[in-house]
């Protein structure tokens, strides 16, 4: 049975352990000796040999380790974190979409040691949420934004893209894959989907103080874990010179007793609620979003796979420019419809306020985005004109 004294000692020792000396940066030594060498070697040579197994280093900086004894002079290359590198590999454009329309060339496929490749995509979502998460199919839904927003999807999880990538984020957007879902690896993969631009290295220290590190690719860092990261596991980010940028809990959802828990399904929205939609309206808004984006990308030369989700330009143009243009066009279209909905009578009655919602306030059952009478601002009208005239003959 754990007593208060036990807890006090454990806590004190863990706190005190933080004052331990740190390992030499990058290990020590430049050459790899033969393990089968039978000739007795001086201690310095043995140390260098041991260190060579730690760092295959070439460089110029000299470090020492061991005060008052041999003062080993060794060489190292550019700074890297302590621990075992768990590298990611950039394998080129995305090969699949997550749930919505995207362009392969603005996404990435990332190779992960011992794990199926991760696909990173950027996708465009109208901001609608089910009012009752348990009744997603039958609605009602709530329109909580005025246009579509960009999401980064990694490993099947999608997060709103951060508005700024240049600051360290102490509440990382997390995703994960399970060993059951990924079907190949015998570990779960902890994924940080929005690593800031300024981060050169990310290290992951588990609750046993094992350390893995890597260079993020396309704002993604991913580490193998057994289940979820436990209480005490931390993530540290560094710049190229080894300066610590941020330190944070690896899994912000752990209970006080250290047991991991799942995050809530949907983050609380800070966007002002706009209007409630019925199921058909919500579906129409999503269809409008996907249709306008697909048509725009197709007009620009993209070819779509059989799922209709992944467009590939295959050199038909500058992917970034085409994507940005089509995103903007789609957002204007969705915004116009969203504004129409927001200015309409309550589309779907609040079950708690039935008395105040008479039949005359029910939504038009024939409403659809294709047929609705929308009012465009001058900018929206101009953008849609540009968009429509850019379509190939017959597309409209």
């Amino acid at each position: 049975m754990t007593t208060d004294l036990d807890d006090l000692i454990t806590t004190a020792l863990r706190h005190d352990a933080q004052h331990a000396p740190t390992p030499p940066p990058g290990g020590f030594a430049p050459s790899q000796p033969s393990r089968n060498e039978n000739v007795a070697r001086p201690r310095l040579a043995r140390l260098l040999g041991a260190a060579a197994a730690v760092v295959a280093a070439v460089g110029v900086a000299a470090v020492t380790w061991g005060t008052g004894r041999s003062n080993l002079a060794v060489v190292q290359e550019a700074w890297t974190p302590v621990g075992v590198e768990y590298p990611l590999r950039d394998l080129g454009p995305a090969t699949t979409s997550s749930v919505r329309v995207t362009l392969a060339e603005v996404g990435h496929t990332i190779g992960v040691e011992g794990h199926p490749n991760l696909v990173v995509t950027e996708e465009l979502w109208p901001i609608t949420l089910p009012v009752d998460p348990d009744r997603q199919v039958s609605g009602p839904w709530e329109l909580i934004g005025t246009t579509s927003t960009r999401h980064r999807c990694v490993g099947g999880f999608c997060h709103p893209r951060p508005s700024s990538d240049d600051t360290a984020d102490d509440t990382p957007d997390l995703a994960w894959t399970s060993s059951v879902d990924n079907g190949a690896a015998d570990f779960n993969l902890w994924i940080w989907a929005n690593v800031p631009d300024t981060v050169a290295f990310v290290s992951f220290t588990d609750h046993h103080d094992n350390v893995l590190w890597q260079r993020p690719i396309e704002h993604v860092a991913a580490f193998p874990v057994d289940g979820h990261p436990r209480a005490g596991a931390i993530v540290t980010t560094y710049d190229n010179d080894g300066r610590t940028l941020s330190t944070m809990d690896a899994w912000p959802y752990n209970e006080p007793d250290g047991e991991p828990s799942e995050p809530s399904e949907l983050p609380p929205s800070e966007l002002p609620p706009s209007v409630r939609l019925d199921v058909d309206q919500a579906r129409s808004l999503n269809e409008l979003n996907d249709r306008v984006l697909t048509e725009c990308l197709t007009a620009a030369g993209a070819e779509f796979d059989e799922t209709g989700g992944l467009g590939v330009l295959n050199g038909a143009g500058d992917a970034d420019i085409i994507w940005e243009t089509c995103v903007h066009t789609t957002q204007l279209s969705v915004e116009a419809v969203a504004e129409y909905l927001a200015s309409s009578p309550t589309a779907y009655p609040d079950p708690d306020d039935v008395q105040s919602t008479g039949p005359s306030e029910q939504p038009d059952p024939e409403f659809s985005c294709n047929g609705c009478d929308i009012t465009l601002s001058a900018e929206q009208a101009a953008a849609l004109d540009d968009y429509l005239t850019s379509l190939p003959d017959g597309a409209t």
Partner: protein, 165 residues
């Protein structure tokens, strides 16, 4: 094999296939913490850990369970240093006095009390409460019977309870 498992004491095999490299990289920080908690001396901690890894490198292929081996090497290294040098012995005995700057804060009193324990009692406390080892694992690290571990732990806890009361 390219296997990296977080949260285990297994040998970590890196992409270049060098098991020792992975083991060193994965364990060196914890090894230094263990040595620090036993000695409260940065220099001695580094030396002990350095010696332990160097010795392991020479025979790493023949070591079945490297993590217990490393712990035992560190515990032995600390004990040998305490035996062979007056300076180290004095340092061990006065840890609570010389290390106050590093144990400031709400838990400082506990660290002082742990530091005042006889070396073997202190070792048991560190391995049990910080390394979270069971009595059998502690016995392995200290090269003594498990019954001795329980006896040392009992005396240590009793003494700490009195000191912290």
């Amino acid at each position: 094999m390219h296997r990296v498992r977080a949260g285990s004491g297994d040998v970590v095999v890196t992409a270049n296939g060098d098991a020792f490299a992975g083991f060193y990289a994965g364990e060196v920080a914890a090894a230094l913490r263990l040595a620090w908690l036993l000695t409260h001396d940065h220099d001695v901690s580094r030396d002990v850990v350095q010696d332990a890894f160097t010795a392991m490198f020479e025979r790493f292929d023949q070591i079945d369970r490297p993590l217990p081996y490393l712990r035992r090497s560190i515990v032995n290294g600390v004990r040998q240093r305490a035996r062979t040098g007056e300076r180290e012995v004095a340092r061990m005995r006065t840890v609570a006095v010389t290390s106050l700057a590093s144990v400031a804060g709400p838990t400082g009193g506990v660290i002082d009390a742990v530091g005042s324990l006889p070396p073997r009692q202190r070792t048991v406390v560190v391995l049990r409460y910080w390394a979270q080892l069971n009595d059998t694992e502690i016995a392995d690290a200290m090269s003594c019977p498990a019954g001795t571990v329980r006896s040392l732990a009992s005396r240590a806890i009793s003494r700490l309870r009195n000191e912290l009361a």
